[in-house]
Each structure stands twice: as C-alpha cells, then as structure tokens.
C-alpha cells in the first residue's frame, strides 16, 4: 500500500496547530492583549523574552498567535460541524420528498453555491452580526449546500441497495434504517468533505477578520494581525510573517488531510471490485 | 504445431501462498475446451496466465506457455500485448461492467479492432454490423445506437461476443459467460458459441462452474480443484468414465428430470481450501467419499495419451 504522503503531512501540520491550541490554555507567555508600548516593535529573537517579537502596541506576537489559534479552530471546526448537521438534515428531507426535495431545496442550495464563499460570508455577517459567533453562523450557512447535496445524492444511491430492502423486510423503521445503514455508508465521504471544508472555513474566517468583519480588535486573530501589519509592512515586515505562516499551516494541513482521505476512499472503492 | 494453446506445469503464487499448481492443458485448433471448477479453484487465474492478464502482485512460472502460436514465456511485454490483442478475444466474468455504460455500442465496439488492426472507424462499424447480425441481432443498426443499459443481460453478452470476434481471433476465452443469465438465454448464448466454433473454426476456452453446461458444448474438458487439474480429457471419455471422485460427484449434481423429490440432492460437503495448496497429498481428501490414508502423502498421476484421459488419483 503506497504511503499516503498527503495524509501524513496533513496530520503533521494540523497536529502542530492543535498543539499550539492546547498550549494556549496553559503556557501563553504573555497576555495577548497586554500592551507594553516601551517594548514595541521588537524583532523576533529566539533568545529573548519575546520569541516572535512584539507588534506596534508591544503585544507579544507568540501569545497572540497562540490565542488566535483558539478562534480559528472554534470558527473552523464549529462552522463546518454546524453546516454538516444542517446539511444532513436538509439532504435527508430532500430525499424523502422527491419532487419537493429536488425542486425546491436543491435548487436553493444551487443558488447559494453560486456565490463565492467570501462574498456570501460578508453578506451574511452584515445581516447577522460581526464577531466570532457571526462568523460561525455565516460560514456554516456557506457550508450547508455542499453537505446537503452530498447527503442527498448519497441517500439516493444507497436507497436502491439490496441490504436496505432486506432491512425493510424484517421491519426496521425508516429512522432505524437511516441511522443503522445510511449513516455508516455516508460517513467516509462525509468525513473527507469535513476535513477539506475546515480548510475553506479557516480561509474564509481569516479573510473576514482581515476585512474587519470577523473577530474585532483588540482580540487577537490571525487575519486581523495580517491586516494590522499592512501599515508597517515596509518597515517591519516580520509582523506579517508569523500570522501568515500560521494560516498557511492550518489551511494546508486540513486540505492535505482531506486529499489524503479522498485517496484512501478511492483506492478502497476499486479494491472492492 | 496445430494446438492453439499449450500450457505445461503452471504454478501461480500470491506471495507465499500457492494458488495454482502443476497445471497443464492443451487446446487443439478448432476445439472447445471446458475448464470446470468451483469458485476459488483457480480456473480464471489459469486462463489469465495463458493470455497475459494476471493481476499485478501475482507471480507465476511454467514450463511452457504457447498461446495462438506465440511463446508467451520468451516474448517481450509489448510483443505479448500486441499478439494477444490481435489473436485472442476475451470475455470476462461480470460482463455487466464490461461495456462502458455512458458510451453507445457503436462507439466502443470497434475500439480493439481500430487499435490492434490499424483500421478506420468506418471499417470497424461495417464489421461490427456484420458481426452483430451473426450473433443473432435482427437489427444490428439499431443495436449499435443503443447504450448498454438499454439492452438486457443476454443481449449485452451477445455484444461482448461480437466485440471479441472483431479481430478474427484464433482463440476466445469466455469466463463464466452464462452466469447471471436466465436459463433460456444461457442456452442461446451457448449455441452461439457452438456456431462460431463450427463456422469460423475458432478455438474456445470455456470457463464455468457448471459441468452440465460444459458437457453439452465442449470437445475436451479439464476439471480443476483447489488450483490443480484433477481430471481432463475428451468430454465424452470423461463423462462416460469419470475416474476422479470429484468429477463423479459433479456429474451426479447435474440436474435431470429424474430427480427424486423426496431425496436430498447430492451434496459435496465442506468447501474448497484456500491455503496450503502445495502439499504432496491430495487436496480433495477432506471432502472425498473414497479417501484413503495413502492419499495424505501421495497422489498417483495417470496419463493415458491414446484416450487423452488424465487424472490425479490413487484409485484405479
């Protein structure tokens, strides 16, 4: 079996971020919001107290990165989870009432999918509210169409399988069949899509924060840090490096896991033949 | 050499596990050879070894493999592929998936012909039409325009046969060609093979688990059990005088009108062993009604060249 490089690399990258997240609860060197003007604009120096340096307000960048990981993961994982659950519900409902389902629900999903993610998120955030919970809601709405379409088509595929007929023959109720048979059949694809979607969700969250629509200052968020670093870029370019790398590692990591899982899925399929 | 296929002492392994052992067979030109055995007996693998289609990961050795005149052991890979493409028509198991479901028949039936015989599309379609008529379609032009899902199982199988005939092959390998078909359609398909064999003088390697099927349509046959040919010869000879207990049981199982409804059907209890196939003794010993102690250590090989009847058994 070929070693799945994507998956391994992805897991490594995501583990780094998760480690940072875990450490943020116990080992943050400084309060991320604590300003210390005399210490502002310190360059990164591994031997000093501020390993990654300080920003324009003297705030420790490492601490801000660590704190930022909490928001990113909360929004990333939270929004995709919410989107998945709603998507499963809508997909299941759509498959039960074929004409209504295909006609109305799926067409609405198609419409939503026509919008680029960031645009949709921006629109929704202005309606909902700015900040972390607004981001979660907005991004989860963006995620719903993908999952509902996926679930809808998987249910239609599974419906005709013989073992579903067998399950009906010994009297299983529709609900029992759904949880016992449909869900396990759908899990592999759902999990794969889930991982890939977290990458997108993080991308959108950082974009929203960058534009000032996500997490609000003075709280630390990688997108916000990138945005704030713009005015000083020519003089202190290091301010953009830490948040930039953090974003890249996170998004790339989740995308690679998604790709790796997808490869395994495809190989498993052809093995069954 | 008037034989289409000469196979001597084939041995196929998957890592350390022996799948096929000491298998030899000859298919004379213009002959239908039936290779009979249960699932797991190795008949498909044997056929694939003859036409260079073994899946990756399996290793094989043989004293001789000559297919349609070419020595398959010494030929180069590209040479082999070209030779097989031009001279062998292959109809695999699970033919439901053989035809691409999203492509019309006319756009796929000529693929092998165009590629291997270097012909144009127009010629391919003309030949396809003629062959579809030959395999029994009254309106070949209509069939060409169909998608595979518009055809019934039996019709699809006939398309597969037509496709296999496109290159005027010397040998057709048909792997379980009638499984999943109704018994009435099975008969039609088998009679088609018979016709092709008689009129076009094509040799056919017919693989099946159904001895009854093979009996009526093959000139010679080989019975495989757990990776070995345990009995082979002219069909009539083997049927009139089966020597191996397994063959005898298989013959008993063939359904006939004389079945007594109140008696249980003849069974072969147990199942084919997957591992441990390279022991010296007889592999059928666990299920053989006539097993003796000596069968555990040694199996006598009888070869009667005059009658062309060979079998592996300690019984006379």
């Amino acid at each position: 079996m070929k070693k799945n490089a994507s998956l391994i690399l992805g897991i490594i990258l995501v583990s780094i971020i998760i480690a940072v997240w875990v450490l943020s609860f116990a080992f943050m060197p400084y309060n991320p919001n604590e300003m210390n003007i005399p210490s502002k604009f310190l360059k990164p120096d591994f031997s000093s107290e501020h390993i990654l340096g300080t920003d324009n307000f003297g705030r420790d960048i490492l601490s801000r990165i660590m704190y930022g990981s909490r928001n990113v993961l909360l929004v990333g994982v939270g929004s995709v989870t919410l989107g998945t659950l709603i998507g499963i519900f809508l997909g299941a409902v759509a498959s039960m009432f074929k004409r209504l389902g295909n006609g109305i629900i799926m067409r609405v999903m198609d419409g939503l999918m026509a919008f680029p993610g960031i645009l949709l998120a921006m629109m929704l955030v202005t309606v909902v509210e700015r900040g972390i919970y607004g981001s979660i809601i907005a991004i989860s709405i963006f995620m719903v169409p993908v999952f509902s379409r996926l679930v809808y088509s998987m249910i239609l595929d599974t419906e005709n399988l013989l073992y579903i007929k067998a399950a009906r023959s010994y009297g299983s109720s529709k609900v029992q069949i759904f949880f016992r048979h449909y869900i396990p059949a759908m899990l592999p694809k759902l999990i794969t899509q889930f991982s890939s979607s977290i990458g997108s969700a993080v991308m959108i969250e950082t974009s929203l924060s960058f534009l000032g629509l996500g997490i609000q200052p003075p709280f630390a968020s990688w997108g916000l840090m990138l945005s704030e670093s713009r005015q000083f870029f020519l003089v202190y370019p290091y301010l953009a490096v830490a948040p930039g790398i953090a974003i890249i590692i996170t998004v790339l990591g989740f995308n690679l896991i998604g790709d790796g899982l997808n490869d395994i899925l495809i190989n498993r399929r052809s093995h069954d033949e | 050499m008037s034989d289409t296929v000469v196979l001597n002492n084939l041995h196929i392994k998957d890592g350390d596990n022996t799948l096929v052992n000491k298998t030899s067979l000859n298919i004379e030109q213009g002959e239908i050879f039936g290779l009979v055995g249960e699932s797991g007996s190795g008949k498909t693998l044997t056929a694939k070894a003859i036409i260079d289609l073994l899946p990756e990961g399996l290793s094989y050795t043989a004293d001789k493999i000559i297919t349609a005149g070419k020595n398959m052991l010494t030929a180069l890979p590209e040479g082999k592929r070209e030779h097989i493409g031009k001279n062998v028509g292959y109809i695999p198991q699970n033919t439901v998936f053989y035809l691409h479901p999203m492509i019309k028949i006319k756009n796929q039936i000529g693929d092998g012909y165009i590629y291997h015989m270097h012909k144009g599309k127009k010629e391919a379609l003309e030949k396809a039409e003629a062959l579809l008529k030959k395999v029994g379609f009254e309106n070949p032009k209509t069939v060409l325009n169909y998608y595979p899902w518009q055809l019934s199982g039996g019709m699809r199988q006939r398309c597969n046969i037509a496709m296999a005939l496109m290159n005027d092959p010397k040998l057709i390998v048909a792997d379980e060609p009638t499984t999943a078909l109704d018994s009435t359609v099975q008969r039609q398909v088998m009679e088609l093979f018979e016709t092709i064999n008689k009129e076009l003088k094509i040799s056919i390697l017919l693989i099946s688990h159904d001895l009854g099927l093979v009996k009526n349509y093959s000139h010679s046959l080989g019975v495989m059990y757990a990776g070995q040919i345990v009995e082979s010869g002219y069909s009539k000879t083997v049927f009139d005088n089966p020597k191996h207990p397994y063959t005898q049981l298989l013959i008993k199982i063939i359904p006939s009108l004389k079945i007594k409804k109140n008696e249980p059907l003849t069974e072969i209890p147990g199942f084919v062993r997957e591992k441990g196939r390279d022991v010296k003794g007889c592999l059928f010993i666990d299920r053989c009604p006539k097993a003796m102690d000596i069968c555990r250590e040694y199996v006598a090989e009888h070869a009667d060249d005059i009658q062309n009847h060979c079998y592996r058994c300690n019984l006379e």
């Binding site: 013989l162 067998a166 010994y170 299983s172 029992q176 396990p184 069954d272 | 999943a180 009435t184």
Partner: protein, 264 residues
C-alpha cells in the same frame, strides 16, 4: 383436512408509471409488471414461481411480503386483508413473511459483522431485549444452518457466497416466520453449493413447517423445491399446477422452453 392458508393473493396487479404529464402529474404511460395474479400458499408447503427475467415473479414475491403495494388487488394473511389489519397485527404479518435474496453478500450491510447483522431483526422486532439474549438465539441458528460460530466475527466480504446465503437464511429464521420468500436464492452460487443450500431449505421446512415462495428462472430447481408451480410470462400466470404435472405434461410452449433449457 386442508392446511391453513397463510397467504392468499387475489387479482394482484402492479403498474409502474413511466411518463407523467409535466404539470398536471397525470399518467401518460405505464408499465404493467403483474397482470392479475391469484394464488394461495398453505402452511408448510412451497409454491414455486418460475419465469424469465421481467416476468414479474420477483414483484409478486415482494407484494405478498409487504415490500411493495399492489396497484389493484388484495393480499390476505390468514384470511384477513392486510389493508385492514391493525398496527400490531400488521407488524405481526410483516414479521411472519421474510425474504432471502439472489445476491447474498449484497443483502447484508458490508459495514457490519455477521453477528451484528443477525442481531438486527431480533432487536428491531423486540424478540431479544439486549445483545446477550440475541447472541444465544444467533448461536443456535448458525449451528442450525451449518455454519461455524467463528463466522460471527467476519464481515460479509470475508466469507464465501454459500456461507453468506446460509447466514441470510439464519437471519430470515430469526423472527420465526411462517413464510419465506426465496427470490433466486441459489442462482448466484456454484452448482456444487446450490445443492447444499437447497437441501438445507428442505430440511428446515420439514422441521419448522415453514412455507416458501420459491422464485427462479430455473424450472429444474423450482420443480425440486415446490409442491405447486406457477409459470409466469410477461406479468401473467400462463400455466399452473402440481409440480410433477407441470413438468411431465407441460401445456404451454413457454413452459416447454423453460424445461428444455433447464435439462440440457
């Protein structure tokens, strides 16, 4: 004294709508799968239904077992119209009619092991309250159908077709049915295994007094298993009678063709 009649089918007709009017939903074209079939099944007896693919035999089996509803006609369970049964009585009827399908591995969810698959009917119908009770019944049944208990820990993909069909039979027997609809149960198996399965089904019938509807395209197999035979073609029953009679004195050309193909 005749046996009790378990199932009685009266004038069953099944139509499928193939073309609907775009807006009004009115039926424009329909396909008739079954054209008015009537028959009875007594306790402990087997009714064989034989015909080519597309003859409607599987559809009738599913209608009689409650997996599909007839477009017209009625099914009676021990004399009572199934449309008029109370919820509890209807559940009892569905429990009493079980199925075995042509593709044994396909009829089992590949994501579960055999013991879990066999426990599902027990837990669904509340015959067993928990996994332990279920396990006892499962063990008993596996031995009954001739399987080694080690099969409980395997997935359907890891066992042979014959073993899988035995497990499917065990599953059908779990809920102590009165009637099992066998839809081409041996067509996908090697001939040497077919005999094993057919012998098993016959044994079980004698022991447990189960009725069968035995559906197949192979009249030889149907003959061996059945007391009476219905010959179907294009949705209609074209010939019927005692199995021996139909085989020795076929009246319809179609029946003769079926007989010829089975006993080549």
């Amino acid at each position: 004294m005749a046996n009790n009649v378990v199932i009685s089918a009266v004038n069953i007709r099944k139509e499928y709508v193939t073309k609907k009017h775009f807006i009004t939903g009115r039926t424009k074209e329909k396909y008739v799968a079954v054209k008015g079939a009537s028959f009875e099944i007594e306790e402990g007896k087997t009714v064989g239904i034989v015909g080519e693919s597309g003859s409607g035999k599987s559809t009738i089996g599913e209608i009689v077992g409650g997996l599909q509803e007839p477009t017209h006609g009625n099914v009676f369970y021990y004399g009572r119209n199934i449309k008029e049964l109370s919820e509890e009585e209807y559940r009892d009827y569905r429990k009493s009619v079980q199925f075995i399908f042509q593709d044994p591995k396909g009829s089992m969810d590949p994501n579960y092991k055999i013991d879990h698959i066999l426990s599902m009917p027990l837990l669904t119908t509340n015959i067993a309250g928990n996994k332990n009770e279920a396990e006892k019944i499962i063990d008993e049944m596996l031995i009954r159908v001739g399987l080694d208990l080690s099969i409980k820990n395997k997935y359907p993909s890891e066992i042979s077709g014959g073993q899988c069909q035995r497990a499917a039979i065990a599953r059908a027997l779990m809920v102590k049915p009165k009637l099992i609809v066998c839809d081409e149960p041996v067509s996908a198996l090697d001939v040497s295994i077919q005999a094993q399965i057919l012998n098993l089904l016959r044994e079980l019938q004698r022991e447990l007094s189960i009725s069968y509807i035995f559906i197949s395209h192979d009249i030889g197999v149907v003959n061996y298993m059945s007391d009476t035979i219905l010959v179907m073609s294009n949705g209609a029953i074209v010939e019927r009678g005692e199995a021996k009679e139909v085989l020795l004195n076929p009246k319809e050309k179609y029946t003769k063709k079926l007989i010829e193909s089975a006993f080549m």
